[in-house]
């Protein structure tokens, strides 16, 4: 990922943030899927979806980033990310294009990002009209953090 060559990024939007994730880590993109709630699970884990017979956990990126919840009428999209333990879906607001980006435009993450966003962001690409935040998929899916993020004693 730290190659000097250009990298392709699958892009998506959460709230007003524009994110990119290495396209090689993305398995597929899906419309909203019906989900099964998981009682007692960390709040980030929104539910389970049936991905062609495979059971996949869907993590809400808004919760993960500490953003306000999505408008109920607006259904999230599934961005399915490959991991060593099988796919995991990220629930995002909108899916964007795949962009090819030059290393020259890359900079470390700015300090004024929210703390929860900053820990998940590797850096920023300066595009013509906006900034693209590069998401670290592994840190985003970090389990322990997710489980510990749950307030003690809560159901």
């Amino acid at each position: 990922m730290s190659t000097v060559q250009t990298t392709q990024y699958a892009t998506f939007v959460v709230e007003d943030l524009f994110f990119g994730i290495d396209v090689l880590r993305v398995q597929e993109v899906l419309r909203y899927q019906e989900m099964t709630r998981i009682p007692l699970a960390p709040r980030v884990a929104e539910g389970l979806i049936n991905l062609r017979g495979q059971i996949v956990a869907a993590l809400d990126m808004r919760r993960r980033l500490g953003l306000p919840p999505r408008n109920v009428e607006r259904l999230p999209m599934n961005l399915v990310v490959r991991t060593e333990e099988g796919p995991v879906s990220l629930l995002v607001d909108e899916i964007g294009d795949v962009l090819q980006l030059e290393p020259a435009d890359f900079e470390p993450a700015p300090d004024n990002l929210t703390p929860s966003a900053r820990e998940l962001v590797r850096g920023v690409y300066k595009l013509k009209d906006r900034l693209l935040l590069v998401l670290d998929p592994d840190r985003t899916l970090e389990v322990n953090e997710l489980l510990e993020a749950r307030p003690a004693g809560s159901n």
């Binding site: 019906e34 007692l40 699970a41 389970l48 049936n50 017979g53 059971i55 099988g86 159901n155």
Partner: protein, 825 residues
């Protein structure tokens, strides 16, 4: 093919061959003349030798070479197979296996040179059989370890298990698609479509079945190793044991085969060591010197039964109980109530071992509990059957596969959940009047199931789901986790179905309440409940376990004087106690049901009228109105003496404790027997008789002439003491307890005891012993001693005779000889 791959192939093949070799050599021992068998053994060794020469493993080659030399002499008839030679050959097989293990782990042959083995092999080839007597004997036979062989077995083709899993997933998906198509066809009136859909249906089912079969392996894969184990273990114990196997072709899912490997090995070893008697003992019992262990596997009701049977001494129930008591695994009163079958199953408790001596092989008290634990983990059960002197059968019931299990679909908070059928005991549906029958003890909901209290958890609460609208019906799913049972209340129960178990992702691994998830017929995901996890999270299981433990500990510490008491709060008394034996039930009534009749509060109860007693009016006359009546629902303890029932109004039930009552301090206060420290807090003991007298003197009219007495109850059994004490206290007597004659005499020191009731088997010398001892003491000789009725007969007749005794004590009419008391047998 890389060098790595070549080595892997070689290891796979050789391990497979070695497994076969073990059983073949043992067969050969039985039939030394079998040319074909000999040829096969020779071929196997030869192949290993050839390949390792090619790969450059000199040590392995040398061992295989010498073994081959020996075998070729046997094959040509120049030598005859003797037990000594078999031992040497088996030793070779072990050495080869060890080296292969090293190769797999480090790609080197390992440090051991096997010089002694090579010498023995050379000697076996060069010298005639009788000359071998002079050679050092083969190293002491060590039972073959349950080695972790590479996951290889005999099969026609090797397929990666991952691929099979993938196939399984795809088939599962196909099944779902098929279901949708079928649903679709019912909406369309199209003959051709319907016919095609039907065909699709059939093919899919057949495909599913066959893909499932690809994961199946015969149980013989595990059994192959056992003949060797039996031979070695039997040798080590100096016994003669034969192993019979029946049903080696019975197939099980690969993961299950893996899971039962260790438990089975353990059971067989246990049979050898504990089950089968030594030769002299067998001769004494008139049995043939050869013990037989038989393994049997067969399908039954969608499960596989595996039986490990021996014709040994059987399980000595009395000794098992004694041992369990000795080790503090059970309480004395438990031991007395236990059926033989229950007692036999004690051998599966952790920390249990009846072996008189700890041998190399077993007897260290670890083992059978691990067996049970492993078998239950895969949804199986273990049971033991035994006839003393004839033998023991241990039966494992194992599901065919882990991937697909039957499950019950339950609904809670609008979500579907699956409960594995293996943990399911029964379903209870309470409707109408019964719906309120979940009671609370110390805030813990319980349900009375056939006279036993079953702790209950509400799935909604456990999972933090919203409660469904209260309706009249309560569904309780009775579950078994390990050896404990609890009830789980769910909103609704649907049907049972076969479910494909899928693991939850890494993100959700921390959730112990689910064991996985599955995809339902409509394509949506449903969670599978982990029964143990649910039990623990709800506190139903851990609490009980802890209580049991503390109870056992206090028992061990205090010895005997334990009493089960119900603690409650009423009015200004924050902690009151009554013996649990006097409590018939705990009830709740809506306030609206409380009526007034004859100046008393009453409720209609079980086709009758139950009088409610306000304790405040008895204990604190003139106090303001009882607060207990303002509760809604009203909490009531129902006490009964056989003829009458009385409801005692309480504010709150606190707890049930099983404790030795340390200090009893008597009181003059009406309605109280005294106070004592219970669970580290001062507690007042309610005098039920006085309460009854205050409320309904007419009930006690026939006893009006009676006088309360101080009774010394001397009885060895804690259980009986508890029972009798309750009955005596009910009749208004103060009771002192003693568990043996010495304690009885000490207790009577300085106390004006009215009468002594002694058990016929009172330690150390029975009823008569105590009687004689008392006669020799001038200050005690005048006190009447009555023998308690024997504990035979039903609980009811026992209680009836105790009640008679109690009234006899009250009227000082102790001329009644114990023998004439009803119920004595």
């Amino acid at each position: 093919m890389s060098e790595q791959d070549v080595l892997r192939e070689f290891l796979l093949e050789s391990n497979e061959n070695l497994n076969r070799l073990d059983s073949e050599i043992l067969e050969l021992e039985q039939r030394p003349a079998d040319k074909e068998l000999l040829a096969s053994v020779f071929r196997t060794i030869h192949t290993i030798k050839g390949t390792c020469g090619f790969l450059g493993f000199p040590l392995l080659e040398r061992i295989a070479h010498h073994a081959e030399n020996l075998l070729s002499l046997l094959r040509s008839g120049e030598k005859r197979l003797s037990p000594r030679l078999v031992a040497v050959i088996l030793e070779c097989v072990d050495a080869i296996r060890k080296i292969l293990g090293h190769l797999e782990a480090t790609q080197k042959e390992g440090p051991d040179e096997y010089a002694a083995l090579l010498d023995r092999l050379r000697a076996a080839v060069e010298y005639p059989e009788d000359a071998l007597e002079f050679l050092p004997p083969p190293a002491e036979a060590v039972p073959a370890e349950i080695e972790k062989t590479s996951a290889v077995s005999e099969s026609a083709i090797r397929v990666d298990v991952g691929l099979l899993d993938k196939l399984m997933n795809l088939v599962g998906e196909l099944v779902l698609a098929r279901n949708q198509v079928l649903q679709f066809t019912t909406q369309k009136e199209d003959g051709a479509l319907a016919a095609t859909a039907q065909r699709l249906n059939l093919i899919t089912s057949e495909l599913q079945e066959n893909v499932m079969k690809t994961r199946m392996q015969p149980i013989g894969v595990v059994w192959n190793k056992l003949p060797r184990l039996v031979r070695d273990t039997a040798n080590a114990c100096g016994k003669l044991v034969r192993l019979d196997m029946d049903g080696a072709g019975t197939e099980l899912d690969k993961t299950i085969i893996e899971a039962i490997k260790d438990p089975l090995t353990h059971l067989v070893r246990n049979c050898c060591d504990h089950g089968i008697e030594g030769q002299e003992e067998r001769a004494r019992a008139g049995k043939p010197p050869n013990g037989v262990i038989s393994l049997k596997a067969y399908h039954e009701g969608g499960q596989v039964n595996i039986e490990v049977a021996d014709d040994g001494a059987g399980v000595d129930v009395a000794r098992v109980k004694l041992k369990a008591l000795e080790k503090g695994l059970i309480r004395p009163e438990q031991a007395e109530r236990m059926s033989e079958h229950e007692a036999r199953n004690l051998i599966f408790l952790p920390g249990f071992s009846t072996a008189r001596t700890v041998t190399n092989v077993s007897g260290r008290g670890v083992g059978l509990d691990v067996v049970r634990c492993n078998v239950e983990r895969i949804g199986g059960t273990v049971d033991v059957f035994s006839t003393q002197g004839k033998g023991t059968v241990i039966r494992l019931k194992i599901p065919l596969t882990l991937a697909i299990i039957p499950g019950l679909v339950a609904v809670s908070g609008g979500e579907r959940f699956l409960i594995p059928q293996a943990s399911l005991l029964e379903l209870i549906r309470l409707d109408g009047d019964c719906a309120g029958r979940i009671e609370r003890v110390h805030g813990t909901p319980v349900y009375r199931r056939r006279g036993h209290l079953l702790p209950v958890a509400f799935l909604n609460q456990v999972l933090g789901l919203e409660r469904a609208a209260q309706d009249d019906v309560v569904n309780i799913v009775v579950l078994q986790a390990e050896d404990r049972q609890f009830g789980l209340v769910v909103d609704g129960i649907k049907d049972t179905q076969e479910i494909v178990v899928k693991p939850l992702g890494k993100q959700l691994k921390g959730l112990t309440v689910y064991s996985g998830a599955t995809i339902m017929g409509d394509g949506r995901v449903a969670l599978i409940l982990d029964v143990l996890g649910i039990g623990e999270r709800s506190g139903v299981l851990t609490n009980r376990g802890a209580q049991d433990r503390t109870a056992t500990q206090t028992l061990a510490a205090a010895g005997s004087d334990n009493q089960r008491m119900l603690l409650f709060r009423a009015g200004s008394f924050s902690r009151l106690a009554v013996p649990l034996s006097l409590v018939a039930r705990l009830e709740e009534f809506p306030q609206t049901q409380v009526e007034r009749a004859g100046g008393r509060h009453v409720v209609q109860y079980r086709d009758g009228i139950l009088t409610l007693v306000s304790l405040a009016s008895v204990l604190e006359p003139g106090s303001p109105a009882d607060t207990a009546l303002t509760n809604d629902p009203v909490q009531v303890i129902v006490v009964a003496d056989g003829q009458h029932s009385l409801g005692i109004l309480v504010d709150q039930i606190l707890d049930i404790v099983d404790e030795a009552v340390a200090v009893r301090q008597s009181t003059n206060r009406l309605g109280l027997l005294g106070s004592a420290v219970v669970s580290k807090e001062v507690t007042d003991f309610l005098d039920l008789r006085a309460v009854m007298e205050a409320v309904a003197p007419e009930w006690l009219g026939h006893q009006a002439a009676n006088r309360a007495a101080i009774v010394l109850l001397a009885e060895g059994s804690t259980f009986l003491r508890g029972l009798i004490r309750g009955e005596l206290e009910m009749a208004g007597h103060r009771v002192l307890e003693a568990c043996d004659a010495t304690e009885a005499i000490n207790r009577m020191e300085g106390v004006p005891v009215t009468a002594v009731l002694a058990g016929s088997n009172l330690p150390p010398d029975g009823y008569g012993g105590l009687q004689n001892a008392l006669k020799q003491r001038p200050n005690l000789a005048q006190i009447p001693v009555v023998e308690l009725p024997a504990s035979a007969g039903s609980r009811e007749s026992m209680l009836a005779s105790i009640a008679q005794l109690a009234s006899a004590v009250a009227t000082r009419d102790l001329a009644v000889p114990a023998g004439s008391v009803e119920g004595k047998e």
